[in-house]
C-alpha cells in the first residue's frame, strides 16, 4: 500500500514530463465556455480552469485528488470486484464491449476511485467518480465502491468525501443500477451513525440517480462554479414543459440560490475550504 503514493501520483507526473506529446492538437484546446484557446501547460497550472474566463473544465480524478489531499499525497483502496454485465445487456453494441473499451481507454476497472489521506490534517476517505468511464454512471461496481468507501471511513474514523461526476444510473445494468440508490443512501447512513462528517463535492455534471441518492444527503454540499447539477436532463424537461429553460438553470449557482448547496467554491480554494470545514466539525482528537 505504501507504494501507492508513487504509482498514483508520482508516476503520472513523471510520465507527463518524460513523454510529452508534441502534437499541436494536444497542446491547444478550446474553452467550451468562452472559446478562448487554452495552452495545455497553462491548463495544468490552472487545474483545468480556463485562463481567460475562469470556466471550470472537467478534471481527471488523479489530478483532483492530488489537489485536495494534504501534500498532494493519498493512497488508493481497491474497490470490490463485481461480475460484469449481469443482465447480458446489448443495445447497438454489447455492454461487455463498451466496458472493455472504457477500461482500455481509462486504465480503470469502473467509474469510481476510493482514496484516503488527510485534508487540513483531518482523515478523509474520498469516493471520486470518473466521467471518462461511461459518463461516470453508477452500476453495481460503483455502488459497491461507494459502500466500501463508507466502510473505510467508519473503520478509519475519517470523514467521507463524495466527489460525484456522473450522468446518473448505468442503464446497462437496469434495475440493479436503480437499487444502488438506496444502497448508497445506506452507506451514507453508516457514516452518519458513526458520528463522522459526510461532505459532498458536486462537480460537473451530477445528474439523475446519483444526484437523487447519496449526492443530496451530505452534511455539507460544496459545488464547483458552473457545475451542472440536477435530477432530470434538460432535454427531457424542455420536451415536457415545451418552454425554454431559464438562464443558468441547474448550475451550481442556481442550486445555491435555491437552497440545495451550501457554497460554490472555486477549484483553487477547494482544498482550503474542505480543510476548514472538516476542522470545524471534526474534533482534534480525530485528526489523523
Amino acid at each position: 500500500m505504501a507504494m501507492n503514493w508513487l504509482t498514483d501520483f508520482i508516476r503520472p507526473r513523471i510520465r507527463s514530463f518524460v513523454a510529452p506529446k508534441d502534437v499541436p492538437g494536444d497542446l491547444w484546446s478550446k474553452c467550451p465556455a468562452c472559446e478562448g484557446m487554452l495552452f495545455a501547460p497553462d491548463l495544468k497550472t490552472s487545474h483545468n480552469v480556463c485562463t481567460h474566463c475562469g470556466h471550470h473544465l472537467r478534471m481527471p480524478v488523479k489530478d483532483r485528488l492530488a489537489l485536495l489531499f494534504d501534500g498532494r499525497c493519498y493512497k488508493t483502496i481497491a474497490p470490490p470486484s463485481v461480475p460484469d454485465d449481469p443482465l447480458r445487456f446489448r443495445d447497438r453494441r454489447r455492454y461487455t464491449e463498451r466496458l472493455r473499451e472504457a477500461r482500455a481507454a481509462t486504465g480503470l476497472r469502473d467509474a469510481i476511485t476510493i482514496a484516503h489521506g488527510t485534508i487540513g490534517g483531518r482523515g478523509v476517505v474520498a469516493a471520486a467518480f470518473h466521467f471518462s468511464f461511461m459518463g461516470g454512471s453508477m452500476g453495481v461496481a460503483v455502488g459497491q465502491g461507494f459502500l466500501k468507501a463508507a466502510r473505510e471511513a467508519v473503520a478509519r474514523r475519517a470523514a467521507l468525501l463524495a466527489i460525484p461526476c456522473s450522468g446518473g444510473a448505468r442503464m446497462q445494468e437496469g434495475a440493479l443500477s436503480l437499487m444502488q440508490m438506496p444502497r448508497t443512501v445506506l452507506a451514507v447512513e453508516e457514516v452518519r451513525a458513526a458520528g463522522l462528517p459526510y461532505i459532498v463535492l458536486l462537480t460537473d455534471p451530477t445528474t439523475g440517480g446519483v444526484t437523487a441518492s447519496f449526492a443530496m444527503l451530505g452534511d455539507i454540499h460544496i459545488a464547483e462554479p458552473g457545475a451542472m447539477i440536477g435530477f432530470a436532463g434538460q432535454r427531457v424537461i424542455a420536451e415536457t414543459i415545451r418552454e425554454t429553460l431559464p438562464p443558468g438553470f441547474q448550475t451550481a449557482e442556481y442550486l445555491r440560490e435555491n437552497g440545495m448547496v451550501d457554497m460554490v467554491v472555486p477549484r483553487k480554494e477547494m482544498a482550503a475550504m474542505l480543510g476548514r470545514v472538516l476542522g470545524l466539525v471534526m474534533p482534534d482528537a480525530e485528526a489523523a
Binding site: 459497491q144 434495475a175 440493479l176 437523487a212 443530496m216 444527503l217 435530477f231
Partner: protein, 315 residues
C-alpha cells in the same frame, strides 16, 4: 379504449359475442354459442398473457383500465382519511396518501395516482410527483412511525416529474431523503408495484421490508423509450430496450430484487380489476401478518440488510 394490438383476436371474438347478444335475447342456441366463444376467449387470453413480451408488458402495465391507487384504496381499506401537504411548500395530487384501516387495523397508505380521464390526469399530473409529493411521503412515514402504524405503498408512475419548479425545489433531494426516511422507519413497510415502476420516482417510496410486483407490472431504471433514445438514438427501438432492461416482474424476481409476484387474473388486471385488487390485498395482509408484531430497531436492521444484500451483496 382501443384493444392492445396483441389482444386483437380477443377483441374480435368479444365483438361477435356482443353482436349475437343484440340479435336475439331469449334464444338458447345463442347462449351455448356465447359460452363456447367465451371459453375460446379465455383460452386465447391465457395463451397471450402467458407469453407477453417485455414491451407488451409495458403496454399492459400502462393500460388505462388497469386499477389505480384509488381503486386499491377503495377495494382494500376502510376509513381512508387522505392527508394533504408537505408542510413546506404545497400539496401534490400525483402522490396521494393518508391514514386508513386494513382488515380493521390502522395503517398509513400512499401511492402514485395517475388519474382516469383527461381532467383527473391533469389534476394528478399523470402520477408524476414533484418534490412536495415525496416530502409528503416522508411526512406520512414519520407520522406512521410516531404512532406505530404499518405503511403500505403502491407504486405506479412513469417517473418523478421533470419540470423547472421540481428541479428548483430539489426533486433529487426529495427522492434521496425519502429513501433515507423509509429505510430508517421503525415500522413495517410493504410496497406493491401495481403498474409502472419508473426509476427514482418509484424507488423513493419502495424502500420497504417487502416489495411485490403485479404479474404484468414493470420496474425499471429508465423507461424503454428513454433508454432507446439514448442508447439506440431512436425512440422506435423501445421494444428492444424493454427486453434489454429486464424490467418485468419475473426478471426482478430472478435477480432477487423483489420478494414476490402477485398473480393477475387471466387477461390482466384491467379485465378483472376487482380480482387483481383482492389478490394484492391478500398478499399485503400476508406480508404484514408475517412482520407483526415487530421490534422497531430489529426491523430496520433487517430492512437495511435486505437492501445491502441485493444488487451487489454486502461487502
Amino acid at each position: 379504449m382501443p384493444p392492445l394490438p396483441f389482444e386483437k383476436p380477443v377483441a374480435e371474438l368479444e365483438a361477435k359475442i356482443a353482436e349475437l347478444r343484440q340479435v336475439a335475447s331469449a334464444d338458447i342456441a345463442i347462449a351455448d354459442e356465447v359460452e363456447r366463444m367465451q371459453a375460446k376467449i379465455d383460452r386465447l387470453l391465457a395463451g397471450i398473457y402467458a407469453a407477453l413480451t417485455p414491451a407488451q408488458k409495458v403496454a399492459v402495465a400502462r393500460h388505462e383500465a388497469r386499477p389505480h391507487f384509488s381503486d386499491y384504496v377503495a377495494g382494500l381499506f376502510t376509513e381512508f382519511t387522505p392527508l394533504a401537504g408537505d408542510r413546506l411548500f404545497g400539496e401534490d395530487a400525483a402522490l396521494l396518501g393518508g391514514l386508513a384501516r386494513l382488515n380493521g387495523r390502522p395503517c398509513a397508505v400512499m401511492g402514485h395516482e395517475r388519474g382516469r380521464d383527461t381532467q383527473s390526469r391533469i389534476t394528478h399530473n399523470f402520477g408524476m410527483a414533484r418534490p412536495e409529493g415525496y416530502r409528503k411521503a416522508q411526512r406520512l412515514v414519520a407520522l406512521a412511525a410516531r404512532f406505530g402504524l404499518p405503511v403500505v405503498t403502491f407504486v405506479d408512475t412513469a417517473g418523478a416529474y421533470p419540470g423547472v419548479g421540481a428541479e428548483e425545489r430539489g426533486q433529487a433531494e426529495a427522492i434521496a431523503r425519502s429513501m433515507q426516511v423509509f429505510l430508517a422507519a421503525p415500522v413495517p413497510i410493504v410496497t406493491v408495484v401495481i403498474g409502472e415502476g419508473g426509476s427514482g420516482g418509484a424507488i423513493a417510496i419502495a424502500c420497504a421490508d417487502r416489495v411485490y410486483m403485479l404479474e404484468h407490472a414493470v420496474y425499471s431504471v429508465i423507461s424503454p423509450e428513454g433508454c432507446a433514445s439514448i442508447l439506440w438514438r431512436a425512440a422506435a427501438q423501445a421494444e428492444e430496450a424493454a427486453a434489454a432492461l429486464r424490467l418485468t416482474a419475473q426478471d426482478l424476481k430472478r435477480f432477487s430484487l423483489i420478494d414476490g409476484i402477485v398473480p393477475e387474473p387471466v387477461g390482466g388486471a384491467h379485465r378483472h380489476p376487482e380480482q387483481a385488487i383482492q389478490a394484492t390485498g391478500r398478499q399485503i395482509s400476508r406480508a404484514l401478518n408475517a412482520l407483526t408484531p415487530w421490534d422497531g430497531p430489529a426491523l430496520v436492521q433487517r430492512r437495511k440488510a435486505n437492501f445491502l444484500a441485493r444488487a451487489g451483496g454486502d461487502l
